[in-house]
Amino acid sequence: MYHSFDAVIVGAGGAGLRAALELGPVGSVAVLSKLYPTRSHTGAAQGGIGAALGNVEEDLWEWHAFDTVKGGDYLVDQDAAEIMAQEAIETVYELEHWGLPFDRTPDGRIAQRPFGGHTHHFGQGPVRRSCYAADRTGHMILQTLYQQCVRHNVRFFDEYHVLDLLIHDGAACGVIAYQIATGEIHTFRAKAVLFATGGMGRMFKITSNAHALTGDGPAIALRRGVPLEDMEFFQFHPTGIYKMGILITEAVRGEGGVLLNGEGERFMERYSPTLLDLAPRDIISRAIYLEVQAGRGIDGKDYVHLDASHLGRKAVEAKLPDIADFCRTYLGIDPAVEPMPVQPTAHYAMGGIPTDTDGRVVVDDKNTPLPGFYAAGECACVSVHGANRLGTNSLVDLVVFGRRAGRDMARYIREHDFVPLPADPTCEACDEIDRLLYGDGDESVADIRRELQEVMMDKVGVFRIEAQMQAAVDKICELQERYRRVSIQDRGKRFNTDLLEAIELGYLLDLAQVTAESALARRESRGAHSREDFPERDDENWLKHTLAYRTEKGIELKYKPVTITRFEPKPRTY
């Protein structure tokens, strides 16, 4: 089936919905999502959205910008961080004006609490910057944005799985999508296309990410010749539920919770004397690994305790009700009484599709845009998170850059006409579907995926070393080879999730390859990329973004400079 819209948005999480609200009044817009929009993983974000409102103590957007840059270990593009920290304030007010039910201060303003790496006076001590709605802030943002889209009659194509990006004469001109309920292939012609497809955490074994987070947008862009930026930087959140990976928000520590090792010691005192348990996530995840390595995990095992029992039942139930529910449901423990067993969990891709600060996808070291193609949210790399994202900044990123991308797309669709579609636009997607549907090889999707997740967790995780990463690259290559021989059992057209899982595995394999190869090449330690064989940050050689291209010869790596405005790189201590 054929459709034509001024703009097509792929993904209905925070970034996609926020962009859609800018485009509705200007032109026709379609939002495609492989899930119902309210199932998007923005809804799983818990602790808050950072903005220097200064509602409970003095705060300045410049401090927020500085924290973002330092948190990202100076790989952040500082012009983008400044825009984000400034516009965070008005976008939070905008969400409130759309009815978002923030928690309140006693005088009725939006409540704010401390979060990891957020400080006053450029690093002097923690500041209360995270605007929150209990531990359900992402849920409230997703619901609020979806409600506004309903109000403004945004056109949704729910449960449509994107398969391809159409580019003709050097400009984006549409997408190909698979309607899950019917198996029908749809061509969406558009003047402008936004990818807002979210994360790719399912390449790791232990992850906080939903099953759906398979990096569809970045993988499709990569296959169409767009580079991926800084893919070696993948954040491990320090507090995932032991073995399950389910996120336990940093807000537990923002509210006063502490990390304890097997000896009952508050070990962050040794790693981060100023910010303690509110140090950035990369630092705490490494600390947990080192404690476990030194035999100081709980009962000698590979986890530590997150203790909130001293906060009292009232605070736990009021400020962290969902966390309490997860603990009761999955662990059978009551966090108001007992500590929670936690270990680092693969959480967030700092890297992704390179964009400028208007969400325009840029394809080289000169930041040359690919006309008509946009990206926003976790699948994009602006880069505001650099080598390590601060907590709350993902939600800020979604609304600030979702909005900016939507506004620039509105301009673009006014100024440009449709580009002709390539001849036979669906052929490559259809070939791929047919290959997977009717393949008769002897390989299974589940086996390859499990092996991929294990190798990425073991060898491209919190700590990295040359030989291990090389082994991971080799293993991924083998898995890609085996993937050509997968066969699936469900060959029907109707709601074929067997087929979708096979498609998604293909995306994960490509992204894992880029992640591992980008990591192998970067011979330094910076933010979430921590190498045992190169333990120091090396600004002289490595203060630059990676751009990974997929070519016939394999992954080709190029680099582009980091934008520095007002914060000179300094050693990063907390």
Binding site: Y36, G43, R109, R136, H211
Partner: protein, 233 residues
């Protein structure tokens, strides 16, 4: 431990009618039912079809009827379900395939209650103020994840698919009782209908079904009371 999953299956492409299929699975007691379903799909029968995403009770994808109660498969632990577990699609919803139901009629009812913030005053330059008590007034109904477990558990809905259903009323409640919102009368007019709140017979199935522990029947009752005794102006 070994368990038997007895699953209601139906693929309109190939099946004349729905049937039961049994699978044996080896699970940990603390595994989620979703883990068991994934095990079947990944290692036994790739055609078994269900929705899932977040796997920890936040996204609302995997509401289904588990041992005759509506729950999320990712919030039901195997140790609580017994050795033989019965799994069916949500009742009252058209089946697309196996455990996947058509959510479109459900979302249509959701959209009908104006589930969005309505104000007629200009926005202030900063946030609207709201006291902690005013915020707490509607907290319970902000938790809804639109999974459909409540509506699919409601005998009034089974008997009359035109009933707007508990989930849509919960969504309306979230705004009606928000001190900042000015659209209460518009929503009350929609709900003051034979197929609106008055179709609720206070059976309380919805309360037991809600994975977010929303007191759904209470919320519906509050809307009814407002209509009867205290119409907002």
């Amino acid at each position: 431990m070994q368990v038997t999953l007895r699953i209601r299956r139906f693929n309109p492409e190939t099946d004349a009618k729905a049937y039961w299929q049994e699978y044996q699975v080896e699970v940990e007691p603390t595994d989620r039912l979703l883990d068991a379903l994934n095990q079947i799909k990944w290692y036994q029968d790739g055609t078994l079809t269900f929705r899932r995403s977040c796997a920890h009770g936040i996204c609302g994808s995997d509401a289904m009827t588990i041992n005759h109660v509506n729950r999320l498969a990712c919030k039901a632990l195997m140790q609580d379900l017994g050795k033989k577990v019965t799994v069916e699609p949500l009742r009252g919803f058209p089946v697309i395939k196996d455990l996947v139901v058509d959510m479109e009629p459900f979302f249509e009812k959701y959209r009908s209650v104006k589930p969005y913030f309505i104000t007629y005053d200009p926005d202030p330059p900063v946030e609207r103020y709201q006291s902690m008590e005013e915020r707490a007034r509607f907290d319970d109904t902000t938790k809804c994840i639109l999974c459909g477990a409540c509506t699919g558990s409601c005998p009034s809905f089974w008997g009359n698919p035109d009933y707007i259903g508990p989930a849509a009323i919960v969504q309306a409640h979230r705004f009606i009782f928000d001190s900042r919102d000015q659209g209460a009368n518009e929503r009350l007019a929609i709900l003051n209908d034979r197929n609106g709140v008055w179709r609720c017979r206070t059976i309380f199935n919805c309360v037991g079904a809600c994975p977010r522990e929303i007191d759904v029947t209470r919320a519906i009752g509050e809307v009814k009371k407002l209509l009867l005794f205290n119409r907002m102006v």
